[in-house]
Symmetry: C2
């Protein structure tokens, strides 16, 4: 079977078993009771592993201040993945015309105006603007979770348009931030070993756009700014990243005025792709958790 065939077969299996619900758009799915339970159980496991660091738990909605987003560089680096939010602000007559277009199957999108918010592309983006100012000497540590959006319609259930990312974000001095990321690279490998997944760490780069993007990607790799923990969800194809470990140097510190002893603070984030982790577990151990290896089951249903 081709990889594409395998991907489609796995998706069909998940939908038939009620783990995912088809919403009629590639990469958009409802989550059945068991799928949601696996996501929440792994999320709770992440909480247990991260608890000794006493992170501050903050939650943002899935939308982000457009001005802050524009400042982030995302539209420069990955414009193809972003989602802006548009609304109707017209009067009665415009509305009548809109409805004629909609009912006649014509394009009505030209009546929508861009709003002050965009969809959150990664769970940590809304955090940085709220941290403007001087950090305490020891820096800060946050625990985040958000639905994120990436416009990449795909038949691969491991490439959803709307998915949850759990994150820890460290802000502080360069050496503190880097050693924190190293500790999570170790922890993450222990976590996936305990979960019975064949994962390994790989140097990685963001999916930068276009020709100049290739240079950005090479630079990111040279400086080892991004690692991923990857798992072979689809045996014939590329391995899938289920966690990522990003060191931003002083990029966000500089962009959003977050300082430490007068200089731009350094930041790093560790992200867990919760839907992808659930899919990796289901692919490796089968669709019935009560038949998973006992140590894996006990890890998530302690």
């Amino acid at each position: 079977m081709t990889t594409a065939g395998e991907v489609t077969a796995f998706l069909r299996e998940l939908v038939d078993a009620g783990l995912l619900l088809d919403c009629g758009v590639p990469g958009v799915f409802g989550r059945g009771p068991l799928f949601e339970d696996i996501v929440e159980r792994f999320d709770a496991y992440v909480t247990r592993v991260g608890a000794p660091d006493a992170p501050k738990r903050v939650r943002f909605p899935p939308v982000l201040n457009r001005q802050a987003f524009e400042r982030s560089g995302y539209m420069k680096n990955m414009p193809q993945l972003a989602g802006t939010i548009h609304s109707f602000e017209g009067a009665q007559k415009d509305h009548q015309e809109l409805m004629q277009e909609l009912e006649g199957g014509a394009d009505w999108s030209h009546r929508q105006r861009i709003t002050d918010v965009v969809l959150t592309p990664a769970a940590c983006y809304p955090l940085y603007p709220t941290q403007k100012g001087e950090l305490p000497a020891e820096g800060r540590l946050f625990d985040l979770l958000s639905y994120c959006f990436r416009h990449e319609p795909s038949e691969d259930p491991a490439r959803m348009q709307s998915f949850r990312m759990r994150e820890y974000v460290r802000l502080g001095a360069a050496e503190d931030v880097r050693s924190w990321r190293s500790r999570w690279l170790d922890r993450a490998q222990e976590m996936t070993r305990a979960a019975g997944l064949d994962a390994h760490i790989a140097l990685a780069n963001d999916p930068f756009f276009g020709r100049t993007g290739r240079m950005l990607a090479a630079n990111q790799r040279d400086q080892e700014l991004k690692y991923e923990l990857v798992v072979p969800i689809h045996p014939g194809g590329e391995p899938t990243a289920i966690m990522s470990f990003n060191y931003h140097q002083d990029l966000f510190g500089g962009l959003y005025g977050i300082s430490l002893q007068g200089s731009a603070a350094h930041t790093s984030c560790v992200g867990f792709g919760l839907e992808r982790i659930a899919l990796a577990l289901l692919k490796k151990h089968g669709l019935k958790p009560e038949q998973w290896p006992k140590s894996v089951y006990d890890l998530l249903w302690p």
Copy 2:
């Protein structure tokens, strides 16, 4: 103090206490640890009250199939509140022009194209299309929770643009659906009484758009299709709806091909505005749950 002044003062109090985080856009806030805890505690209380009915727990992402959304009538009834999602699909040259516009402070939104998804306006919208076909005689009952979007930028923390709605949705025969809604009207009043809130049930209507909207609203009230449980969060102003109880007759059954013994099924939903409930509790009992009336504290932290 004017009502507008009270609203602003309450918001400032919440931000100063770290309950909400300012994101720089009206109606978009981060949730601090305590605010999130109150939301989750009330959500768990809803789960306990609803558990005897054995609902099926399904979760959808905060985005919805645009085709299904267009069919729903939302753009006809409440176009001003909807959010459509647009993405960049251009090539290298378009991207260079976009970046020139963005960096020069010009409008770059004309480069975005409408995608196949919109933001979810109410937690139950994604469910109906998945229920196409014949229902079992006893109907079905679902438990949903989703971030919802409404484009109504406001300084009132009780009118967020992005907020969570917990819902139960009943599909079935008209009489089953109606008696189910009646039972929740009773339960909801018991719940708010136990939570120490001065709530009461009110006949209501959706915020329909424009001139024809006034007729739709009157019709909805005449037929008692919508009730709300309202609380005076802002003493001088209109009471705020924290729960709603909607009977759709066979509207969604007809639109999405959900049938019962050959006819369009009836549907009803009961929605809990989780952020509004947290705000109502904080306004009534103060910003420190450990100082709330003991019975209220014990109800949520059992």
